[in-house]
Symmetry: C2
Subunit: 383 residues, 2 copies
Amino acid sequence: MTKSLAIQEFLDGTAPPTPCLVIDLDLVRDNYLALRAAMPATRIYYAVKANPTPEVIRLLVGLDAGFDVASPAEITLCLANGADPATLSYGSTIKKAADIAFAHEHGVSLFTTDSIGDVEHIAAHAPGAGVCCRVVVNPPGAATPLGRKFGCAEDMAGDLLTRAAELGLRSRGVSFHVGSQQTDPAAWRTGIEQAARIGTRLAAAGIDLDLINLGGGLPAAYLTAVPAPERYAAAIDACVAEHFGADPPATMIEPGRAIVATAGLIRSEVVLVARKSAADQHRWVYLDVGRYGGLAETENEAIAYRMVTRFDGTEDGPVILAGPTCDGDDVLYQRTPYRLPMRLAAGDHVDILAAGAYTASYSSVAFNGFAPLPTYCVGQGGA
Amino acid sequence: MTKSLAIQEFLDGTAPPTPCLVIDLDLVRDNYLALRAAMPATRIYYAVKANPTPEVIRLLVGLDAGFDVASPAEITLCLANGADPATLSYGSTIKKAADIAFAHEHGVSLFTTDSIGDVEHIAAHAPGAGVCCRVVVNPPGAATPLGRKFGCAEDMAGDLLTRAAELGLRSRGVSFHVGSQQTDPAAWRTGIEQAARIGTRLAAAGIDLDLINLGGGLPAAYLTAVPAPERYAAAIDACVAEHFGADPPATMIEPGRAIVATAGLIRSEVVLVARKSAADQHRWVYLDVGRYGGLAETENEAIAYRMVTRFDGTEDGPVILAGPTCDGDDVLYQRTPYRLPMRLAAGDHVDILAAGAYTASYSSVAFNGFAPLPTYCVGQGGA
């Protein structure tokens, strides 16, 4: 992964205050089109939460993407940027009755659910809507596994889809999420198998499921390469064919990271380089961006970003990287071995690559008085 | 800890949209005055980062508090609300040269440091300012220990204070932080001992330190009671007397949590109550506030808040508590045993007590499209 030329030109020409996120819309488009080419039969719903910048939404609307939304504000954002509500999927299983009503009033007709309470809310406030039921899967291979917060057991999913149909909803299919930054293309197998078994059970009850929601999890290349989209597509297609035969249901997928991560760069500035004692082998390098300024995914060092400085290639040494707040947990990397140039000093820039996903929108509104991370867009973006 | 009457009246009368934080300014005043009464000889600098609500700042200005600030924005906030810059201490050791210059231009004349780079920046951009050097101490007893991000070794602190004096700064003393929510009044001992040794060393070099900065760490009562301020004062006074004798340096302390935590309540709404399988013993209770909406200190379940519902006292059962975002880590409590009423349902309120510190300012600006936690103030506040 190298730095985008358009981003570099913007930084050189504009010298924006740091920290900031710069998104190259051309790379967003390239990532989206590569994914679509790799999975031509699967409908892509961009996970808005990954990066809700209006320019990104507008670009993807123009490329015929669908949108996975998590709140009324994300619905409003998509519609304001030209999305057809029929292309929106309310992917959060945790939604207020009022938010379901809001979605329904604005034309959203596909919802993900995983509990009887939510099914009843959807039936009451979005009558006739389509629903997918999320089952819990926890395959290995994810940088940030999702645990048990979302999804229900397979049996319960069958019950919920049955109940949804009784309540007048359109039971569409099964949804699952293999965990974020999933590096194993085979990780979708368990979910697809559950979808097949649930489909068989419901077909016997006269309910035909016509959709599999493959969720998110497609990875981005950070410090190391990840399998190409084609490998995920091949593994998923083979598994669907194996379990559904000649007449498989439609598939949809909800990538966020895979579309925007590599399109973004965070420019930060070194606030301070320090040693804690005369015997310290490593330096502490404090940046003006940290866990509360956009790098939330460095929690537990789950995502290790590539850092670029103008001194790369000169003598380097081990560092601990930390953010600028008073919070002792605002340390980016102390176990992941990072080395930075010995010449790096306060005031120098550190550019954080592939930082377009799950960064700016996570920023604290004002912790320690620091403003949220601003976003700039460069590139043509259009088709 | 019971709910503030003024907060309850506000909630009943106004029924604000949830989630929201409500601060009772009378309780802020009471907490501050109790602390001042317990530690009459110690100057109190309120840690603005704990809760930067303008009304809180104005109230504390009126009560003659000092302010521990971490950024230019916090300086601006304090000055805009009537603080005298002579009552501000720039407590962050991680600050840009430009931020030091900003502070200096606005009259701030006391800085905390822990590295040679920062000392040089202060000398260059805030000539003649007072400095305290932070040493690292990690006593047990803190809910969230601060690790090694801040502070330096004792030897280095002596070197830095010596160097600061050479550079024309006023070397004031030693600073340390015993870790947040520190429940052991004896935890200040190590830091005071280091301050004494460093003081002796510097006195021999002709530099008289006249201040000990006792940092933050004073706790608030969450689920369990904590020692009264008088016990902390007694332990600290005894230790200072033991090590400094009849002519001790002045002391300052930087409480945040102890002043605002119990003065605040977060009102949240149950979004959903769910079981994940028919066999589930516990319910999942999803609130409309979570780790990214203000409850950042539930990370690793460090702070366990008390929850209040209108059904308290009726039959209850075990729950896992989670926030509303798509993030699998947005789970508040799954190891800490919480029980909530069986009757609790979507739409009911859950009030989170003692939530006035380190909540609203941590909120994500827009993660999942959710707005940051708004703050309302009630009570007279004035003296």
